[in-house]
């Protein structure tokens, strides 16, 4: 009987030990946390870097897609990134030719910053010419339709016999872009 009891106890102890070992083997979380404490800072830093990096690499295509959508939108807006006087002169010349108008004068102001953060640029251009009333209207329309962003703040028309003398204030706009983008 004593032998049986002894065997039972040893068997129970053995089962208990095996159970503990199995628990330790499979339930690593507490030990993981415990072990984490000693190298917590290092682990935290590296894990954070790894997490960000792997997430970025996995989402690369999504980032690229987002970027291309934004580039497309910016391109669609067709905003000049700088104000070029030669470009303005060229555009005005084309429009006036189209409408059989000879420009008497074109006056340029200095480039001025606009928008609340001064990120945009603008230039005021005053155009004087004599023309037929309808040609003048077509000229104004063509200016408005121009691919260049132009606004017409005011117009002064003076009728002389069958012609009109027009003084037109135009505003040319540009939004500079950081170099290397797009």
């Amino acid at each position: 009987m004593c032998v049986n009891v002894k065997n039972n106890i040893k068997l129970k102890a053995l089962i208990f030990v095996i159970t503990i070992v199995l628990i330790v083997y499979f339930v690593k979380a507490p030990y993981r946390m415990f072990a984490n404490l000693s190298i917590r800072d290092e682990y935290k830093d590296v894990y954070s870097q790894y997490e960000n990096m792997s997430k970025d690499i996995n989402m690369k295509s999504i980032y690229e897609e987002k970027q291309s959508i934004l580039i497309k939108k910016v391109n669609e807006l067709n905003i000049d990134t700088e104000i070029l006087q030669d470009g303005i002169i060229n555009e005005l010349n084309n429009i006036s030719r189209k409408n059989s108008i000879e420009l008497n004068s074109v006056k340029f102001s200095e480039v001025m910053p606009i928008l609340s953060d001064n990120s945009g640029l603008c230039m005021k251009v005053t155009v004087d010419f004599d023309s037929d009333f309808n040609d003048m209207l077509n000229f104004v329309d063509d200016v408005k339709k121009s691919k260049t962003i132009i606004s017409i703040p005011d117009i002064s028309i003076l009728t002389i016999k069958n012609t009109v003398h027009v003084s037109l204030n135009l505003m040319f706009y540009a939004l500079p872009m950081k170099t290397g983008v797009m």
Binding site: A13, V24, A35, I39, Q49, Y63, K73, L77, L137, L175
Partner: protein, 499 residues
């Protein structure tokens, strides 16, 4: 060298502390307690005996815990039983119990039974085994176990006096330099002041034990006229011992069937008995003064082999002795073992878990670091960072662009449609000399031929969808033929923007 205490309890308590190295026994200390708490091996007062022994051990500074207890009591029943030869000890034991029930008038449930195989004989080619059976009272075993527990000693075994004699033969221990003869029948007589015991060994197995205790010493008894010692003509102490031994021998002869004892070994205190035995009984006798395997170099001064012979022999016995009721002890040991095992296992498991997890985390860290430091991954990551940064910038740029377009819209104040309408609605006799249009209003300078045309033109202008309101500040006519005037038009779109 392990130190062991050996206790022999009879009518006194004999204790020796000895150490055993190989086959050699060294007696370190010995003591005898003339106790009133024990009688014929039985403990009459447990607490008294415990106190006595404790005090003695304490006074001698003995701290040894391992112990052997020797039962030296007349209450041990010895029988010779012949059975068909059986190999399994359990079968032998059960057969012996059956036989004992028929031959011995005792309650066997109150006895522990141990046996020795004495001889094997063949009858009609059937082997028979002759067993010497020792029946030890359970109460003695329980008492000795309790005594050991109360003395806080580690009880190794409980031995009985016949087994000590058997140990002499089994271990080939020489007495006084002579080898014991297995074929002889030898008697071992212990003679002390008021005690005499008689043990007989046949074929190296003790098969008889008897003892006698006298309240008065033999010297006192010798002084009296004792008619019961008829065997002797004069009643000296030695004569009385010899007479008692003779009685024991007769008894032995009657129960064993043996008709001769070849040699008598005498030990104890009374050495003069040897002469009496030689003279009166005509049996070769010898006083035990020396036994092999007992170191003589370290014996204490007070040590007398005759006195402590049984106590010493109990240490030579290689038998397991009586099975002690150690269930609780074993259970306790097993629980202790299990607890220690669990603690060690738990500690190992925790350490293993900790280091394993730490190693796993280190590996993970290493893997993550490799991933982070990989050149290709770094290039991809840099490109992605650039894309993200550009994306953020483009978002901001788009917001700014929207604001710029709104500003452009705000500043675009000239509408050709209104100019066309003015030109279309102008009456024939009316001439518009100048037009000025800006954010606030559109102002016309006009000359009309009649007031009617002025009103017609004015009302026509007011009818234009784009015009919110029209206003003529003044009309002048210097000649009375033409009317010059100005008209201020507030356009709806301008108004909306202002609001």
């Amino acid at each position: 060298m392990a130190k062991i205490l050996s206790f022999e309890i009879n009518n006194n308590i004999k204790i020796i502390e000895a150490s055993i190295k190989g086959e050699v026994l060294s007696v370190l200390r010995c003591m005898c307690i003339d106790s009133v708490y024990v009688k014929d091996g039985k403990i009459i007062d447990m607490d008294g005996a415990v106190n006595e022994i404790n005090e003695k051990l304490k006074s001698r500074g003995i701290k040894t815990k391992k112990s052997i207890f020797l039962i030296n009591s007349n209450s041990i029943v010895i029988r010779k039983i012949k059975l068909p030869f059986l190999k399994k000890s359990s079968e032998v034991l059960s057969m012996l119990q059956i036989e004992l029930q028929q031959t011995v008038s005792i309650d066997l449930s109150k006895y522990r039974i141990i046996y020795e195989l004495s001889d094997i004989t063949y009858e009609n080619r059937i082997p028979y085994a002759v067993h010497i059976v020792y029946c030890v009272p359970v109460i003695l075993v329980s008492q000795y176990t309790e005594l050991a527990a109360k003395l806080k000693l580690k009880l190794l075994k409980i031995e009985i006096i016949p087994n000590c004699i058997n140990a002499l033969y089994k271990n080939n221990i020489k007495i006084n330099g002579g080898v014991l003869n297995n074929n002889e029948t030898a008697a071992f007589v212990n003679v002390s002041e008021n005690f005499v015991s008689f043990l007989a060994a046949n074929h190296g197995i003790c098969d008889f034990y008897i003892s006698s205790y006298f309240k008065e010493s033999f010297i006192e008894m010798a002084a009296e006229s004792l008619s019961q010692y008829r065997y002797l003509s004069s009643a000296t102490a030695d004569n009385l011992f010899a007479a008692q031994i003779t009685k024991f021998m007769r008894y032995y002869y009657s129960v064993s069937g043996n008709r001769s004892i070849d040699k008598i070994y005498i030990y104890g205190c009374n050495h003069k008995i040897k002469e009496e035995i030689n003279n009166k009984l005509n049996i070769n006798s010898e006083i035990i003064t020396k036994i092999s395997n007992l170191s003589e170099t370290v014996l204490p001064d007070s040590f007398d082999l005759g006195k402590y012979f049984n106590t010493v022999l109990s240490l030579f016995s290689r038998d397991k002795g009586l099975k002690i009721n150690t269930r609780k002890l074993k259970l306790k040991n097993n629980y202790g073992y299990a607890a220690v095992l669990l603690i060690i296992s738990a500690a190992s498991a925790i350490s293993f878990g900790y280091f394993n997890s730490r190693a796993a985390i280190r590996n993970e860290l290493s893997a993550m670091s490799s991933y982070i430091e990989d050149r290709e991954n770094n290039e991809i990551n840099s490109a992605i960072e650039e894309i993200k940064s550009e994306t953020d910038y483009l978002k901001q740029y788009l917001q700014q662009a929207e604001m710029l377009l709104m500003t452009k819209e705000d500043n675009d104040c000239v509408d050709t449609n209104i100019l066309r309408e003015i030109n279309r609605l102008k009456p024939i006799g009316t001439k518009v000399t100048s037009i000025y249009s800006d954010k606030d209003s559109t102002q016309l300078e006009c000359i009309s031929s009649s007031m009617g045309e002025v009103t017609m033109f004015f009302s026509n202008l007011k009818g234009i969808n784009l015009v919110d309101s029209a206003y003529i500040p003044a009309i002048q006519s210097k000649t009375g033929e033409t009317f010059s005037y100005s008209i201020v038009l507030k356009l709806k779109d301008v108004c909306k923007r202002e609001k």
